[in-house]
Amino acid sequence: MKEMKLFLGPQHPGMHGNASVHMFVDGDIIKRSYLLPGMLYRGFEKQMERKLWVNNIALIPRVCVPEPDINEMAFASGAEKLLKLEIPERAHWIRMIILEFARISAHLMAYGGLGGPTGNYTLMYHAHADRNNILDIFEKITGARVYHQYIVIGGVRQDLPKGIEKDMHTFLDSLESRLKEYRDLGIDNASIIKRIKDTIMLPAEVVWELGVTGIGMRSAVNKAYDIRKVAPYARYDQVEFEVPVSDYSDARSRLDIKIKEVQQSINIIRQCLEKMPEGPVRVKPARGQSMRWTVPKGHVYSMVESSRGEFGYYMVSNGGTHPYRVGVRGASYPQGLLGIEKYLPGTRIDDAALWVDTMGICSPEIDR
């Protein structure tokens, strides 16, 4: 049978990020496909070995661009475990606020990203407008819009500025009131339902086989596997929230869960703002010359729940000033690199971009 080869990415409007999906196509059905990674490879894990522990805080957000704070959190909490460091109570709550805002921002971006493949740009524009408000809040808190370097080993870099709670409440209220609008424009829109309902299915077998986590897993196997619940970090055990699940993983149900998680994140932030104690936000991690402090020998795997799934750092210290080895478990590695070969064959080229979009594939996380 004669085949044709099509490329989705790296330079393609349907592909977010610098990766290439090679599709062998018969007519318009994809017969084989694979992801060509490596275009974002910059020797990340090697570079981390060459940097001081504290310097690494500046490097790690760059693993995943849409949601950088989880990297800081995973790295910082792992280092803290190695250092056996207790950080101030308030820092935990601030970290949760930051993480949840980051989650909302990533979800909004991914949900707005639905506008790209389906052509509903109004949805995309609105979602990005709201996301930009989050970035503004971040800028107020941390001084940077995207790479905050705010969660550091030993707490957070500085306390929340005065009056930021009001900004947060205003934003959360407006976002909550607009969630229905997002549904109407996106997953409840009659023309978009045709594209995303009962199609782009993620079967449960693929989930088990590849180790997909996050929304991909929760939507497919009806299992509330969420690091925030099963292995709570920060103070997630002290806030109430639900983990939305479903056992039917089409694109619509995955996006539906995204919207529900945005709602849950809003609730979490509100609880955080309410329960957050006053006090210091940072402790010095260890004694040492300037910043060249050492971390005790040992290894640790620290994981956090990102918007795309379980995100982990495996860190080994040989007692030196630099990490001995750091391995990153990218959340989108299974569904991105491996999954493309599994679930894309058999679907149509129309859906390829939607696949990439709704599975939450973040290419820098795959390459590192």
């Binding site: 409007p13 990020g17 490596g38 275009m39 910059r42 020797g43 820098p364």
Partner: protein, 191 residues
């Protein structure tokens, strides 16, 4: 007696072309289309610039799907060797005149990846760059400012990167080959 008759000064072809070119520059700077090639992290600041928050369309700019249609090649962030090869390929596919805007610190001097073995440090060794926007990551305001700068450069005929590329083609090519080797396309991975 001096003739009072108006005699139009005939323009040479080069002069006419220049006049047309100036007129064309007006259109070109008011309608800059971007090629979205997300080479690295800085691409994340483009959606705010394009969408409602900063609304790039005010300036007549917009994202385009393919290099043939676009005016600006937007290098958003660090460039691994594998990307650079594709970037040059894309650059050579673009219609002329073409401009290059490089975002972030990485294309300038390698930025945070200056010591990485897989990332190039200076983009303008390989293709000419018209505007650099420094920062890691540059704010959206800075990105927008970079575009306005490019418009200004076009207005003052300083955005001549594409001409430079023609003039110094052998130099650029030699640099490309030193870093990347010859691109020999014989299988699908062609590396």
């Amino acid at each position: 007696m001096k003739s009072t008759k108006f005699t139009p000064v005939p323009l040479t072809k080069a002069e006419t072309d220049k006049k047309w070119w100036e007129i064309g520059d007006f259109f070109r700077r008011n309608s800059l289309w971007l090629l979205m090639y997300c080479t690295g992290c800085c691409a994340i600041e483009l959606p705010p610039a394009m969408t409602s928050a900063y609304d790039m369309e005010r300036l007549g700019m917009g994202p385009m799907a393919t290099p043939r249609q676009a005016d600006i090649l937007l290098v958003s962030g660090y460039l691994s060797l594998k990307t650079l090869r594709r970037l040059i390929y894309t650059y050579e596919q673009m219609s002329e005149p073409r401009y290059v805007v490089a975002l972030g610190s990485c294309p300038i001097n390698g930025g945070i990846y200056h010591d990485s073995h897989a990332v190039i440090n200076q983009l303008d060794q390989y293709i000419p760059v018209d505007v650099y926007v420094a920062g890691c990551m540059p704010n959206t305001e800075a990105v927008m400012n970079g575009f306005v700068d490019l418009m200004d450069q076009i207005k003052h005929k300083r955005a001549n990167g594409w001409k430079k590329y023609h003039e110094n083609y052998s130099w650029y090519k030699a640099n490309q080959i030193t870093s990347l080797g010859e691109v020999d396309v014989h299988d699908e991975f062609h590396e």
